[in-house]
Amino acid sequence: MRRCSAQLKCAEVKTQMKSVKRDKAVSLAVPGNLYWDFPEPLYTNSVSGKEKRMTGADAIVKCLEQEGVEYVFGYPGVAIAPFYNSILATDIKTVLVRQEQNAAHAASGYTRISGKPGVVAVTSGPGAENLFTGIATAFADSIPMICITGQVDSHLMGSDVFQEADVSGAVESFVKYSYIVRDVTDIPRIFREAFYIASTGRKGPVLIDIPCDVQKETISRFVYPKEVHLRTYKPTVEGHIVQIRKVIKELEKAKRPIICVGGGVHLGGAKEEVRAFSKKHGIPVVCTMMGLSVMPTDDPLFFGMVGNNGQPYGNQAMNKADLIIMAGARVADRSISQPDLAMAGKTLVHIDVDPAEIGKNTTPAIPLVGDIAHIFHTFNEQELHVDYSDWIAQLDDCRMHGQQKKAEKLRRAAENPDRHSVDPALFVHTLSSAMAPDAVYVADVGQNQLWSCANAQIREGGRFLTSGGMGTMGYALPAALGAALGAPGRQVVCVCGDGGFQMSMMELAAMQYYHIPCKCVVLRNLSLGLVRQHQHLVYHDHFSVIDLGGYPKLKELTAAYDTHYYRLETNAGIQGTIDAFLKDPAPSLMEVIVDPDELA
């Protein structure tokens, strides 16, 4: 009897679904917009609301609803099956990625664009293990994220049963916090805490491991706590006013100050405050890789990225400065390789929400712990009369010189008739200039990332994403997918090399299946370019294990996924191909032929 009614319901849903689908296809097929005809659930719960008792899995889903979660990225399996069963009863959309690692990257991309913690749900053992690289990548860049992992039944835990792994123990060193849910009644509290922990202070991923039996247990009462009571966790919110005044005093004394912004400015939502402060007093700004797009590329006060892959004029500006304000940056090895040497003779102000970052790599004269938006807001309220125009003029000179040299190089590349490949710098420059002003540019890892950092033109409202801390190849495509879901209507373009692309190219399927109109560029040089470059420079062309060959053939590959394919072989026609590629409303891929000898 019950089965009968369930089948009936199922049929009803199917017919309803069809009509809905047709409507959506007409109304939403606008270029540049997401045209959702998200495949909808085929099954509904056969038990009516009245009879049904709430299970742990229902409670989890309810928690996600309370947190306003729109998407769950993941991959089901037996240990997380109760959760995926319960989620059908809600409006939360699920995205089935093709490998768990990509679920984490997609959630990361979603988080970074929407500002809301992305949610991932995968099964126990291998499902969770596949997630680790994604979690570590998010941790290295302080991206808030909630990772729900199924676990074997509580009474089996510790007995090495099928698909059992000590997930919580294994991720300990690269999550902000992790939980194992042992009691179903803890679910609301744990989820409330997890979202709070992930998205406050120094943000980061939180993992919740839930045994399958706990998901199935009934919970008699569901109350989502309003407040979080954590005696051990009180993130610093406001910067100390005494320290803030000290910084202002130092700025009054300084002749050549500079602000170096990192990913913390994005994470703290302090972009506008930082820009306003820089503009108000004419203080030049440089950035780390994670701080790209805090300032538009053409801002007169912006002097590029620093570090061993940065702009020479950016590094010169840092070297010449007498006061450096590091804001939301770790003073990590790639941006400042010898911190003590680089900071000698300068006054360093280090602003970070995480007290442990301050003094970790170098000792600042003025440590300033707190929420970066609050600190810059307070900076903006302080009286300060300074004039750094001489310093700016000096930097301008340097930048103009550098940019002229670069423009000349690009011009020569564009006009060179003998070239049988595309100049990657010229390509990135042309692509990013042709993109919408508020577009999201996602760079993978490798030479493509360095070309992107050095040449991408990011405008007001635009955003640059990459895996900066961990440098995880294969990040770009799934992150772009998540970013597109986080910002419907915004253009999202990812740029990969052919190595990184192949690490996550299976997500073309998810992109196509869910009709997420991302753009994917593959800079094809048939080798692991950055490793090859390293072997060229350090091992004197003793090339080892870097040859990728010509596989897969991207034209055939995209055909298999029904993804539109574009190809660019030489600099000729670069603008036309890029324009056509960007204009295409469907998910599409562009293969760009690059010379393997090209250095980044």
Binding site: S168, G169, E172, S173, K176, Y177, I180, I197, L230, R231, T232, Y233, D354, P355, A356, G359, K360, T363
Partner: protein, 162 residues
């Protein structure tokens, strides 16, 4: 340089592992670690002795504070604290060395707490240095087993201080 960390943590499963894992992951030294419950059964007290340069020791404190299961961290040097360690040592004895062992025990204030025809177990509770010193006196004696608690320490009493 040596430092003592008095760390109050949540008394939950896995917390010891998380704290010890932090030392392992960041290459900090653990010279000694002792854990026990406090008067509040939801709180455990860890006494960790670590050594390194001053920058590292400062990072240890910051990283400990960052752990979400850590309630409070206090740090002090050895001379700012009174510290004790308990050692149990089981040795073989015979007619020739029995008297020596007993004399050593009485000099150092150790007690013989268990004994059979050929074995005895001695307990000493003293500062870590004196415990080590006591142990040195057993060089010529056949030791069966040794167990030490690790250092326990509290800051020295000062009036007007909590």
């Amino acid at each position: 340089m040596k430092k003592i960390y008095s760390v109050l943590v949540e008394n939950r499963a896995g917390v010891l592992c998380k704290v010890a894992g932090l030392f392992w992951r960041r290459c900090y030294n653990i010279d000694s670690l002792a854990v026990g419950e406090t008067d509040d059964h939801t709180v455990s007290h860890m006494i960790i002795v670590s050594s390194g340069d001053s920058g590292t020791l400062e990072q240890v404190e910051k990283q400990l504070n960052k752990k979400l299961d850590v309630i409070k961290v206090k740090t002090f040097t050895e001379d700012q604290a009174v510290s004790r360690e308990l050692m149990l040592i089981k040795v073989h004895y015979n007619r020739n060395n029995r008297r020596d062992i007993m004399e050593n025990c009485s000099i150092m204030g150790a007690q013989i707490i268990d004994m059979s025809k050929s074995l005895m177990t001695i307990q000493i509770c003293d500062t870590p240095e004196r415990v080590s010193m006591f142990l040195d006196t057993f060089k010529t004696i056949s030791i069966v087993e040794i167990t030490r608690t690790g250092t326990l320490a509290v800051p020295k009493c000062k009036d007007g201080q909590a």
